[in-house]
Structure formats: structure tokens, C-alpha cells
């Protein structure tokens, strides 16, 4: 069922920019239009391109913020999230925690 919703109306997660738009809703309470505009500006793409796989695949690779297929050397897991926090200028709790720990 969630797959059907994802196909019909979903942004596409890390295939595109779904995770990034969701983060802006979660951390800044941004409505959809504002969240898309904010992420689009940070990524230097149009809001419509945020769910365009052809554009977002390249953008994600270039920014090294994690892609859906498994490519050796590409940022994964918390490494990708650390870059996303910087890119979107937000705090991500797990990244903040890791940074605090590795400083010791």
C-alpha cells in the first residue's frame, strides 16, 4: 500500500529529494511549497526537478549526499547526513551527536 501511494504521489526518497523536503518540514515546520522552494534553492534546481530522477541523481552524486544505488565511495548513512545538514543549514540530531563524540 505505501508503495502504491509512493508511486502515485510520493517524492521518491533518496532517488530524488524526498528526504530533503521531509527534513525541512520536520525541522522548520515548512509547508510543502516553502519546503520545496528552500531545498530547490540550496540545490540550485527548480522545485519541479526535486522529484525528477534524471536531475536529482546527478545533483546527489555531485553533492555527495547519498544515492539510492550502492556505489563504492559515495557517501552513505551518517556520512551523507552530515553533508545534508551542512547543505540545508539544519541540525540533524544523530550528526550533532556524532560530532560531539568525535571531538573527544
Amino acid at each position: 500500500m505505501p508503495i502504491a501511494h509512493g508511486m502515485a504521489a510520493g517524492m521518491g526518497g533518496i532517488r530524488t529529494a524526498g528526504d530533503l523536503v521531509a527534513r525541512m518540514q520536520m525541522t522548520r515546520k515548512m509547508r510543502l511549497k516553502d519546503a520545496k522552494a528552500y531545498v530547490a534553492e540550496k540545490l540550485k534546481v527548480s522545485p519541479a526537478d526535486l522529484s525528477n530522477e534524471h536531475v536529482m541523481r546527478e545533483v546527489r552524486e555531485e553533492l555527495d549526499i547519498g544515492i539510492i544505488t550502492s556505489v563504492p565511495g559515495c557517501a552513505k548513512g551518517i556520512e551523507a547526513k552530515a553533508r545534508i545538514a551542512e547543505l540545508l543549514d539544519i541540525e540533524i540530531n544523530s550528526v550533532k551527536r556524532l560530532k560531539n563524540k568525535v571531538r573527544f
Binding site: 504521489a9 533518496i14 530524488t16 522545485p47
Partner: protein, 353 residues
Amino acid sequence: MKKYLTRMGDGERIEMTVDEMKRDLELGTQDAANRGKIAPLTQDELDYLLDIFTNPNKIVSVEPGNEVPLTHDIGTLRLMGDQGNSGVGIPLSRVQGIQVHERAFAADTMELGHIDYSFKPVKPVIAMEQQEMENALLSTIVPLFYGAMPNLGLYYAPDGPFGNPSDLLPMGKIQEAREAQEGAVEHATRDMIYICEKLYAVGCDGINFDTTGAAGDTDMKATLHAVEYLKANTDLAIEVGMAGEFVLGMHGGLEYDGVRLAGLYPHQQVKLVEKAGADIFGPVVNTNTSKSMPWNLARAVTFIKACVEAANIPIHVNMGMGVGGSPVFETPPIDSVTRASKAMVEVAKVDGL
């Protein structure tokens, strides 16, 4: 006259003419408008819904550019749980389940949840949940919620320390039932805060309070108090998802911020959820199994549109089995599910599903 395939609220396939669909769309929106004391859908919106229902394709979708982020409740239980959780019984670890959602299903966000999916049973195993959360956070990219139900039913006999209102009320013991519920609110609020703070300590992105209000206004009150505390004391993102379209008055007198909780509909619920500080609201509209999908979807979209218009925070409408215009059926038909998605995004203008 040409007939179009659609469904009843229980998923049964039926055929309806355009006139029959128009009538049900009109009756559905009027039912929501009367109950919620909100505006019905406009003629243009009803016409748009009619277009969705008369589209001959099995699957429909939003127009490119209109896509929305999805938050997922029930966590990974849909993969490893049994049918009680709509689960398919695959023996995966929960971290693997989250990774499958992120990499195979392209989920925009994901959620970790305990097998019982209620907050109370998490308390004694919180260390296990913390470690699972830590492991998941290290290896995934998408935002990760911890999801659970306030489920105040677990605080009443025989599962908890307080008398059961379902037993006390029929005996006319109204005061005792109310006192039991007020006690449960205190305990549940304390437990939810304890659990969420522990998860925050290991870096959890957010909490999803799922099926809030399942045990009535007590559920809602405990959740709002927990949210208020957590927003003041942590950086957790909070989503509040509801259990039903109006808050059941099991107590009837409970208030939050001077507003009686019982009987609130989605456009009223969201104002209190905002006041408590939550970041995302997940309203629910229940599906009626004895009515057609045009009736159900028009009704659901009417309620949700009013909620979206009243809100200042993102609205992620609940679209699971039996809610949000989806049929009440364990394997909801794809034609109905995708029509409900499109209608919620393009007519109700939700911020997410």
C-alpha cells in the same frame, strides 16, 4: 448509460454511472460539511474528483511536480509483522527493514517501532530500542522517526493500574471512570516523555505519536502534554497522527489550552496540535464500508481540505487501510489507493501523506 468501475468502502468492485457518482460525491462532501460545520467542496473540486473516478486507467497519479513527501507509520512491522499489523512475515531485522524502505521502496522518511507498537511496553526495553535506533541512524540517510501509539487502554484494568472506564461507565460510576482516565493521562504522559527523551539522547530525528485518540480524549490530552514538554526540552521533530475523524469523548470533560478535546474534528484538532508545538499533523477520516468510494473520498477530502486550510504546520494525511478514502480491506485495491492519493494531494492540497 456508460458505467465506470469503482469500489465500495470495503473494497468490493462495483459499477456506477456518472450520475450516480456525481450524487455520491455531492452526498459525501455534504456529510462532512454537516458534521464538521465546514465548507463543502466547490463544483470545480467535485468535477475534478469525478475526473479521477472516471479515468479508465487502473492506476492514476499526481501530475509531475505535485509530488509530496511520505511519512510511514507502523515502521518495519509491515515487513516482519503478522497480518494484525498488515505485515507479510519476512524474518528481517528492524534495521534491515528500515534499509529496505530507504533503498528499495524509496521512502522519503522511515520509522522504527516496537513490535507491540504502543509506548507503554517500550519502557522496560528502552535500552534495546535505543541501540536499534543508534544502529539504524548510522547506516541510513532518510529522516528516522520512532513511532508508537499512546494507547491509554494499556493503563486500565486488566493491563494497567487504573479501573477500566468501559466497565465503570455502564455501572454509572462516572466520577470513578473520569478519575481513572485522569490518572492514566498522568502516567502515559510521564512514560512517553521518558521514552522519547531516551531516544533523543541517541540521535533520533523525530517521534510519531500514531493513532492518537484511539482511547478517546484521554489519549489526545496525554499526547499534547508530552509533545509540549518534548518541544520545550529537545530538538525532536514531532508528528501527531490521529486515530479517528473526531476525538471520542470517553471522559468528555478534558481540555487542552481551554478547549474541550472531545468531539474535535481535524480542522480543530490541528490548532491544538500546533499549540503544543508539533511539527507535522496527520489527520484521519474514516472510511464507511457501506458507502461507495466516491462518497467516501469526497467526504474525506472535504474534512482534510478544511484541516489544510486551518493549519500552519505541514499536514500529512493518514492514508492507510480504511482511512483517507482508502477501502477497509487488508490488501487495499491499487485503483482506489492511487485515486485517494491523487485527490488528497491535488484537491485537499496536503503537504504529505
